[in-house]
């Protein structure tokens, strides 16, 4: 994909290139993810299934929003699926995930149930937060998902705190903190970078650069739009990754997590990705051309790439893929049915969960 300032990225050849080698074993061109770029059949099928699940779920959420079942804000992840699915494939049990408000995909990838997420979107008692959180605020201790945060950039400091706790406990877990190109301009992000580098905290900072902070393109909002360089002042290495290629993401994730687990401190992965839908449901996305969106969909769609590969390699027939699609549609429909039938929270819930 051809994005400004990202000439070095070509997911199909080398997963990514190190943008900054300070204090890291990663030097320009040294990035070794290319060896693991090839997915086997099981990995491709897994990635396909996971990404398709997110896409279908989000499409359904968009539908339910239009029908009035979902209220307030609803930020869809369509187009960015490869980022979270590739990272999740690289992570180990116990690694924590934290993100902002475009969080449905992250929750599904963490293994949280479609029913629980969808019922939260509709504000019902079977939702992950009993209907009290909404689209932007869900959590699962069991799945190591720490939210679900509505204040742009706050999750970066919180994620750094999760990494602090890992180091404090001396365990082997890594915190994976997602934020967008918009959040990357918040001050606390750099306060966190400083502490993470100073204390060598095990954290992968993932900038999901989908090119628009709400309606403002990176070109209009930032003096340095190569986000992988944003840690250079703190000696944090950064890598630009083709975030539309799940294999490139997984390879970069493997390297980054290994970097953290080996005690080298934080690392930044800039995922070059794209959001197909508007910022939220009320955004018609007039700030970009239809052609731009269409080009991204037709040439770089993360799911389509895997689908083509599965068929070319003979790992799945059209019928088998249709069967997967049907399975997923069934799960999503079931979640939508549940989310509409499930009762609203009992009124007594208004005053619960304020204090323990």
């Amino acid at each position: 994909m051809a994005l400004p300032n990202t000439a070095s990225v070509s997911g199909r050849k080398s997963a990514a290139k190190s943008a900054n080698a300070i204090g890291s074993k990663f030097g320009p061109g040294d990035f070794t993810g290319k060896n693991s770029l090839e997915f086997g059949k099981d990995e491709d099928l897994h990635a396909y299934r996971e990404m398709l699940m997110i896409r279908r779920f989000e499409e359904k959420a968009g539908q339910l929003y239009g029908m009035g079942f979902i209220g307030g804000f609803c930020h869809l992840y369509i187009g960015q699926e490869a980022v979270v699915v590739g990272m999740q494939m690289a992570q180990k049990e116990g690694d924590q995930v934290i993100t902002a408000y475009r969080d449905h995909g992250h929750m599904l990838a963490c293994g949280m149930s479609a029913r629980g997420v969808m019922a939260e979107l509709t504000g019902r008692r079977g939702g992950y937060s009993k209907g009290k959180g909404g689209s932007m605020h869900m959590f699962s201790k069991e799945k190591h998902f720490y939210g679900g945060h509505g204040i742009v950039g706050a999750q970066v400091s919180l994620g750094t705190g999760l990494a602090f706790a890992n180091k404090y406990r001396g365990n082997d877990s890594v915190s994976v903190a997602y934020f967008g190109d918009g959040a990357a301009n918040q001050g606390q992000v750099y306060e966190s970078f400083n502490m993470a580098a100073l204390w060598k905290l095990p954290i992968v900072y993932i900038v999901e650069n989908n090119r628009y902070a709400m309606g403002t393109s990176t070109a209009r909002a930032t003096a340095q739009s190569n986000y992988s360089l944003r840690g250079s002042g703190f000696g944090i290495p950064g890598i630009q990754v083709d975030g539309m290629d799940v294999r490139a993401v997984k390879a970069a994730g493997d390297e980054a997590l290994e970097h953290c687990r080996s005690g080298n401190g934080p690392i930044i992965l800039e995922m070059l990705t794209y959001r197909y839908r508007g910022h939220s449901m009320s955004d018609p996305a007039k700030y970009r051309s239809k052609d731009e969106v269409q080009k991204m969909r037709s040439e770089h769609d993360p799911i389509e790439q895997v689908k083509v590969r599965l068929m070319e390699k003979g790992w799945a027939s059209e019928d088998e893929l249709k069967a997967i699609d049907k399975d997923i549609r069934d799960v999503v429909s079931d979640s939508a049915d549940f989310a509409q039938a499930d009762p609203e929270p009992d009124v007594s819930e208004l005053y619960t969960d304020i204090l323990l």
């Binding site: 992950y128 009993k130 679900g148 400091s157 999760l162 001050g187 306060e191 969960d353 204090l355």
Partner: protein, 478 residues
């Protein structure tokens, strides 16, 4: 003319210190910038430099002297051609020239006039800890029902009580750690964390960069994963940089997660005005934080409450904002000698029982209330004084019980007057105990102005004892 060298102040609140060492002796020649002595308080050791050239004529205060008041003459410097004969024999404290007073025809200046000296401040204890001054004045206080009768009491400063609380909880629970600016190597900007680094090491006593927003978020994130951080803000004024993490992340997560995940964390540090530190360093946040569901807000006055409530705050599974006060740090109170003294959060303490009128205060506000009660006692007005101790959840039942008995209520605090803790108490008492009131409730607060620097204006901006006395008389129709 021989030049007097005076005992310098190390901080805005220092009133005395120890002259630990002379580095020059009588007859030594000094030039400006030469270090001539070392002085110390428990907070710091500083070098005294000569600011003029000359010969040390006489050392007036012996090395090792403690409790040397600020502005005491400690040595005399002779200029060229002068001899010891030129020295004035007066060795007493140099008279500080009083600033000419502005016309104090302001209604606030009742019993405490508004000129001259800065507000009363904490008496900095020395490193040896023997210049501690008991909190003033003595009034007969009610027994605390949380302390078993016959318990041995030990005079302790608020500063030591807070440190002891943290140390005890850190010994008890490996998940408790303290982080903040200057908490470790420096031993605490106000020496509250003194000794913790030595006992618990750098893993659990963590110096942070000056980065309130960031480290508050790091603390909350660590708490969400189950650790129990104590986040020290050098002062709560700086916590405004971090208030998003305190409110949006710490206070709301339990609710937003449907009870799955909370943040067991303590945010603590000095709150409110110290002395002469100006508008940006002198704000009381009690009312601010007390508005937030999901937070507990504690603001102790005595050392015993500071200890028992900080221990409770650290154990509490919820985020607790623990508001201390720099002026109170050096004050000494009786603290029960118990292995594990923990007080309940959310429970007021009746500081003094009385029958005529109820005064409710908390934190530093209690210093005005206590003095007013002593004055009023002389005039035959018997005050029931309630120390709220916790601002949220607020122990309104204790206040209302008292108002039912006295029919009159005055609140005292240092914070701004609009939407103050006092106005909240007044509203709720009016709603819940209207029929018991014999007079309108009066609320004494700081003035509705940013804190001024000038000593006389600062004194006017804060509440004073006279205002409290007057308010109590007003509600008693006397």
């Amino acid at each position: 003319m021989p030049i007097d060298i005076l005992m310098p102040a190390l901080s805005p609140t220092m009133e005395e210190g120890t002259l630990s060492k002379w580095l020059k002796k009588e007859g030594d020649k000094v030039t400006s910038g030469d270090v001539i002595a070392e002085i110390e308080t428990d907070k710091a050791t500083m070098e005294v430099e000569a600011v003029d050239e000359g010969v040390i004529g006489k050392l007036l205060v012996a090395a090792g002297t403690e409790n040397v008041k600020v502005n005491t003459k400690i040595a005399v410097l002779l200029a060229d051609g002068e001899s010891a004969d030129d020295m004035n024999s007066d060795q007493g404290a140099a008279e500080k020239p009083a600033a000419p007073k502005a016309d104090a025809d302001t209604p606030a200046a009742t019993s405490n006039d508004a000129g001259g000296k800065a507000r009363e401040s904490s008496n900095e204890p020395t490193a040896q800890g023997d210049s501690k001054v008991p909190a003033q004045p003595k009034i007969e206080t009610a027994a605390d029902p949380d302390i078993p009768a016959g318990t041995e009491m030990v005079m302790t400063t608020v500063r030591e009580a807070l440190r002891d609380a943290m140390a005890e909880e850190m010994r008890r629970d490996e998940n408790v750690f303290v982080m903040g600016e200057e908490v470790a190597e420096y031993q605490g900007a106000y020496k509250i964390t003194q000794g913790l680094l030595q006992e618990f090491g750098a893993r659990r006593v963590v110096d942070t960069p000056i980065t309130e927003h960031g480290f508050a978020g790091v603390g909350v994130g660590a708490a969400m994963s189950g650790l129990k951080p104590i986040v020290e803000f050098m002062t709560f004024n700086f916590a405004m940089q971090a208030i998003d993490q305190i409110i949006n992340s710490a206070a709301k997560t339990l609710y937003m997660s449907g009870g799955q995940m909370g943040a067991p964390i303590v945010f603590r540090g000095p709150n409110g005005a110290a002395a002469r530190v100006g508008a940006q360093h002198s704000q009381d946040y009690a009312a601010w934080y007390s508005q937030i569901p999901g937070l507990k807000v504690v603001m102790p006055y005595t050392a015993a409450d500071a200890k028992g409530l900080l221990k409770a705050a650290i154990r509490d599974p919820n985020p607790v904002v623990f508001l201390e006060n720099e002026i109170l740090y050096g004050q000494q109170f009786e603290v029960p000698k118990l292995d594990d003294f923990v007080l309940p959060i959310g429970k007021a303490r009746i500081h003094r029982q009385g029958k005529d009128v109820t005064v409710v205060s908390f934190g530093i506000g209690m210093t005005y209330a206590v003095k007013a009660v002593a004055e009023l006692e002389k005039e035959g007005i018997d005050v029931e004084l309630i120390d709220l101790r916790t601002i949220r959840p607020m122990d309104l039942p204790t206040v209302i019980e008292s108002v039912k008995k006295t029919g009159r209520l005055v609140t005292v605090e240092e914070g701004y007057p609009q939407n103050s803790v006092g106005t909240e108490i007044a509203t709720r008492v009016m709603q819940q105990a209207f029929d018991y009131l014999d007079a309108p409730i009066l609320t004494i607060a700081g003035k509705d102005v940013p804190m001024p620097y000038a000593a006389n204006l600062e004194k006017l901006a804060l509440p004073n004892v006279g205002e409290v006395v007057q308010a109590v008389k007003t509600v008693c129709y006397k």
